[in-house]
Symmetry: C2
Subunit: 226 residues, 2 copies
């Protein structure tokens, strides 16, 4: 079974890569250099892909800063800091990148069809998340329909399946799953900022730290003193 | 009304750009340099965008030759030649580029959401075409659902609308529409090959020439002697 895995280098996508391996897939990882503020995550993606022993790791260049529209692609916009989990869950935040998962899934689909792959793994998570519209089950179902109708393979009755192992999990459950699968957390990168250490105060750091803390575990990634 | 127009530089996309203008839209054209065999079409896209007086013309780089899978992105594969229209309509041809319209529509969606645009125009055509899966009405409907669920604007009840003026038209009807709208055909480029003149024998040339001939019109684009 062949699978393309969307790998950002963060906690969620690293876990699904290890899940795809555990599911018996031959793994093809795909990452995106979209000139994101936190391009540091691409180094993590490379390490994780190597550790997991993927068959190919493809890094696609697609500059999304040309039109901006997000604090991750326009450095003039400030990252939200020190928000509580309750605050994060209320609105679609400024770190939302317009159509990002649609773009990423489209490229993954193109590659998957060329490889004649069976599956695409994506680490979307509708709980404990920052309210991104393109991380929810109804959106994934709509993309699945696009996969069925928009490709030769789909029209021939053999659509590539979108697999979302984390979609209904809490962040603590994802950490527990990753621990079980042996994900090397120290190689991952979640922080939206671009320092040597993770900032500890952006939404991505706060969610991650809260999950490790709730489980009584130490996150091995270095954090700046806050 | 703001609209993003997918502009390849060919006959169909040039016609929808002029249609969007006629519909009263402020036009933002987007083209893709995917290292296609017929990159010559990008020069046509630039000319047409200028002639139509678009507000911005964005050319996005996204190299699709890294995985190939099509005669348009892998020069080792041969272009079909001198096929009849009946032959073209039978199968999905080797010029099919996996997930191409899904990738293009995703980028257009990202830009449109950033611009707070109302519409995206795409020149897909389900008749008189080479059987591409991602040019059919059910596929477009599926993408429309992705637009609704996968964006902030869509979740807020104001999804960007995909407009497909040509979807049910025959190629002859498209030429007639373009004539009415004043599309400068001599600036357009449809040929899949990469010469100074259009080849006259690839599927795209054959479809185009047949339409002009059926209408008793002369196609002003230069063709190689066949």
């Amino acid at each position: 079974m062949k699978a393309v895995i969307l790998l950002s280098g963060g906690l969620d996508s690293s876990t699904i890569l290890y899940q795809a391996k555990a599911d018996g897939c031959e793994c093809y990882a795909i990452s995106f250099d979209y000139q994101q503020r936190h391009r540091r995550e691409l180094e993590s993606a490379k390490s994780i892909a190597l550790s997991a022993g993927v068959k190919v790791h493809q890094i696609v260049n697609c500059d999304l800063t040309v039109w901006g529209g997000s604090a991750l692609t326009d450095k003039r916009l400030e990252l939200p800091k020190k928000r509580t989990l309750a605050e994060m869950s209320q609105n679609i935040p400024i770190t939302y990148v317009p159509a990002r998962n649609t773009i990423f899934l489209s490229f993954a689909l193109a590659w998957a069809e060329t490889l004649e792959a069976d599956r695409i793994y994506i680490g979307v998570n509708a709980l404990d998340y920052s309210g991104y519209p393109d991380c929810r089950p109804d959106y994934i179902q709509a993309m699945q329909e696009v996969f069925r109708l928009g490709t030769k393979q789909g029209r021939e009755g053999n659509p590539i399946k979108i697999v979302t192992p984390l979609i209904d999990m809490k962040k603590t459950e994802i950490v527990q799953l990753g621990n079980k699968l042996g994900v090397p957390w120290e190689q991952t990168w979640s922080c939206y900022a671009s320092g040597e250490s993770a900032c500890g105060v952006c939404d991505a750091c706060r969610l991650r730290l809260a999950a490790f803390a709730e489980l009584g575990l130490q996150d091995p990634v270095p954090y700046a003193a806050v």
